[in-house]
Symmetry: C2
Subunit: 259 residues, 2 copies
């Protein structure tokens, strides 16, 4: 199988490089890397339309190149697959990210958006995060993933698995939970300051309030479980269609009614 | 009611200013504007964590200020609601955008992401787009919206309505369709060039292939209907949870198994 690795912490980040080494040593798969040349966290699903994208090649091993792209995580996936930078992969893995990607925060996440771009382009994807900005030992998460990869590849034929590992040594992991996305609510989100010229400005920050709902990814990580959330790519609210149809479809005449 | 307007084309764009004037003249609602100070198209749901946000005040009318923010559409919504820039709105309208926001393209859309940010913060939202980059008469769309706004406010208590107007004169509108999100597929996505120094670079471009599936927003706009798609904010694939539980929850022992 051919696996494409990308991330939002940048090509040289420890998370993606550790994952690459683990997959190379513990699996037989072909591994490509196409990742942003620098950190692009919190870029969400942005893409670059109005600037050109430059690509820098790096030696990945003796017979293969890795690609660093001057764009966002989603640009990397599009360029890799649609720009013909590599052969179409069978699986995309985005990560391992430094810091969690949980609940509604997945909308802001470059890591999850890159994986979602894979899904849109027909490639089953994983988004993988280590849920702590300070804890930097990616090895146990990478090894866990490598050891389960054959089963995941066998069963994961479409969509996205959003995987968050506890940001703690493996001895403290409580187990695995398959979860739903929770609600990531923040308090104290903007800190107002005044610059030396007297202009007000705002820093976005804030602490995430605890999510005490059952079965969520946020709760699982709070309790030191590995959280695995299956995700799809369709934001249509199908239940909402019929009620609105009653109003709008029967009100086509409104178009003539002076509107 | 208090309505917050934002967009991704920037505070001074014709779409948002036309919408403001139509809502002021045709409705009795209080209207605030908090929008990016410059164009931020295709920014997706990105937020600004590592730079401060500056806010410029503009006279909106004799008794009210509008706010232009040095950030993304999602920053604007967060700063407006969580940063206390305005009172919490009852409804958020993002737009009117110059150009369509249809199908899987909603993931890249600053317009839709701003509306989704409203939903995450508990404010029912509309994303409104004019489906043509060249056609610039926002007036009929703005008036249509203003005339239906009271019904929308009465029925739209949570989630997002993604509304695309045909990019044509109103005399050519075919009616209204309530739709699901389609698949926005592009061909010829990257054009490879070589710069004067010999370095290869890539422009992202490409034409959207036609979506011939029934009931989609893409199809509705192709056929000159106004498209209205109800959207939610939960990307969990609930059907995927049980199959993965069987493997992962019963394989907690794998944690001890050398992993």
């Amino acid at each position: 199988m051919h696996i494409l690795l990308t991330n939002d912490d940048g090509y040289h980040a420890s998370g993606i490089q550790t994952l690459y080494r683990s997959l190379r040593s513990l699996t037989e798969h072909d591994i490509s890397i196409v990742a942003p040349e620098s950190e692009r966290s919190a870029t969400g699903h942005s893409i670059t339309l109005f600037h050109p994208l430059f690509v820098t090649e790096h030696d990945l091993d003796s017979h293969q190149k890795g690609f660093a792209v001057s764009g966002t995580p989603s640009d990397c996936v599009k360029l890799a697959i649609q720009g013909g930078l590599i052969n179409k992969p069978d699986l995309l893995i985005s990560g391992i990210n430094q810091g969690s990607n949980l609940g509604t925060d997945v909308f802001y996440s470059g890591t999850v958006s890159a994986a979602m771009e894979g899904v849109i382009l027909g490639v089953p994807s994983l988004a993988v995060s280590l849920a702590n900005y300070q804890f930097t030992d990616f090895e146990p998460s990478a090894v866990y993933l490598a050891k389960h990869l054959d089963y995941i590849i066998k069963c994961h034929k479409k969509g996205l698995l959003n995987i968050n590992f506890p940001g703690k040594p493996q001895s403290k992991w409580a187990g695995v939970k398959v979860t739903r996305l929770g609600k990531a609510i923040y308090d104290n989100v903007f800190e107002r300051r005044v610059d030396p010229h007297g202009r007000a400005y705002y820093w976005q920050c804030g602490n995430r309030a605890e999510d005490l709902e059952d079965d969520t990814d946020l709760r699982a990580i709070q309790e030191d479980f590995i959280s695995i959330t299956p995700m799809h790519s369709d934001l249509t609210d199908f239940k909402g269609i019929e009620p609105w149809k009653k109003y709008f479809n029967t009100s086509n005449s409104l178009l003539d009614n002076g509107v």
